[in-house]
Symmetry: C2
Subunit: 320 residues, 2 copies
């Protein structure tokens, strides 16, 4: 078995070896670019880790891991177009570097590349692998659609928000776990338990993201602390505050401010008054507890679960 | 066996029965919209027709036919964004009706829908079906990339143009035939012959399109005759003329004109002087002859090929 760092290395080594056609260069260069920008490779590591719960032949799952990582990066390329984002991991986004049309098309072909990776799995698991992947991919698209629609809605409930992040973020973590389990030879019950583990962890992960965006250590966070506040993003913190504050305080949350810095300070102070951080942490911990419950129920000897518990801890204790 | 019209009806009846999720409505409504705009359904009909060369169980191929039609419509949605096109089949394009971001995302989920259709084929043919589909989809994306790049290049050769239309248009017709053949139980040799048939027919089809755009009957063409000339599109006709004309005539082809009408008239007259229509037809007929050769070599009793010959004739004699 391999620890999270070893599995991450396995992924990092495999990515530059993916053989894309040489031409048209402008179709494939953006794929190599976005795939090389790094990140923690959490999703493909989860695939491999789920496989290793059931078999020592972890390389059997490498193609599925690359499919998941390619799909994830495809969503980043298209989401960045929709969000008009100039930067991704501190570098130019694909549409900034190659133009929007090129970015749409390179994203499209990344979806094909994901499917090519997937189709290499053992024929015995091909059908459930495809079904799981397609359901996952569909959920992620639905989540992105809801996220876009929330931008122009002012009646988003916390339940709707949780459902959105479940689709946009958590389903892919669930899918990664389930796919790894299937390739590893898990039965349906255990594959489903791992899906639930991944999905619950995914919701906790995103809630943690929301908290970090406001309360992260500026030295370690990597992005501007308060970015969500400046962008009026309807995060869990925003929606919870909106539900709790006095009518007289609405302007602090939704009104104009002198500067971005002043806005971050004022809204953070408002959050502090209503214990929003703690409320978000309570919610986050509930999802994390559900994730661990699923892991406890998994019919795998306890010592095989060690690295997955370690990865979960790393993910939830991250500072960026 | 079914004639082309019966197979088209089979497709037309199946499309409204595809079950998309109800929500998010704005993600799935565009799919229903574009899929209902009609068209000749040539590609899914080709899938079914290829299957019927080998088996009477044509419905076995219905999911693959829907996958191909969904994929084709996905490319239309994304291509229309890239081309900034306001109309498709005389109606508003998806990005005009729902906005660019929504159109990107609905297109993305159409790719997932295509893969969901595909995954329903018999497990015995699933792997070759996926491989053929992925190779086809990748080729289509490459063709679109080349098409975009040609817009800003002024050194496109006729060979490059043929390679572009092979990828952008012909590969999908080849893929449709091969997929239908695989589902019908064809061996590799016959499946490959049908791929070649479809690909050669596809190149002939696009050359015919180029000719119709200039020489079509305005009453029957459905679009503005001369649209390619107005848009300075580097079609076979344009590139052939560019290669043959005197330097003094370059301005007619590439320079400014008083009006769109005058430009169409002047360029058409130039084409006429150099017999460009006939040269294009000669090229087209060479590809068509190659297509028929493949059909002749196909190891299927001749009377099973009748409807495919009929469809080919319909496609090549179309006026819009």
């Amino acid at each position: 078995m391999h620890n999270p760092t070893e599995l991450q290395k396995l992924i990092e080594n495999a990515i530059p070896k993916i053989a894309y056609p040489a031409n048209p260069a402008n179709l494939y260069e953006p794929i190599k670019y976005i795939m090389s920008l790094g990140g923690k490779r959490i999703r493909p590591v989860m695939v491999l880790m789920a496989t290793e719960l059931f078999t020592d032949e972890v390389t059997k799952a490498l193609d599925v891991a690359l499919a998941i990582e390619t799909f994830h990066n495809f969503t980043l390329v298209h989401d960045d177009i929709m969000d008009n984002a100039p930067l991704r991991r501190g570098k130019q986004t694909v549409h900034e570097k190659w133009g929007v049309n090129n970015a749409i098309l390179s994203g499209d072909v990344m979806m094909v590349e994901s499917n090519k990776h997937l189709s290499k799995v053992d024929i015995g698991v091909l059908k459930p692998v495809l079904d799981t992947f397609n359901q996952t991919a569909q959920g992620v698209c639905e989540g992105q659609q809801l996220d876009m629609e929330f931008e122009t809605r002012d009646d988003v409930s916390i339940e709707e928000y949780i459902e959105m992040i479940r689709l946009k973020t958590a389903v892919l973590l669930g899918g990664a776990m389930k796919l790894g389990a299937i390739v590893g030879g898990a039965d349906e019950k255990n594959a489903e338990l791992l899906y639930q583990f991944g999905e619950n962890l995914g919701v906790a992960f995103q809630l943690q993201d929301d908290i970090l965006d406001v309360y992260g250590d500026p030295e370690k966070f990597g992005k501007q602390v308060g970015g969500d506040i400046i962008a009026n993003k309807k995060t869990f913190l925003h929606l919870k505050a909106k539900a709790l504050i006095e009518p007289t305080e609405t302007d602090i949350l939704l009104g104009e401010h002198e500067s971005a810095t002043q806005k971050v300070e004022a809204v953070t102070a408002l959050y502090n008054n209503y214990n929003i951080k703690e409320l978000a942490q309570t919610q986050m911990k509930q999802y994390l507890a559900k994730a661990y419950q699923g892991l406890d129920m998994l019919e795998v000897v306890e010592n095989r679960k060690t690295y997955l518990r370690e990865l979960t801890k790393q993910i939830m204790e991250r500072e960026n």
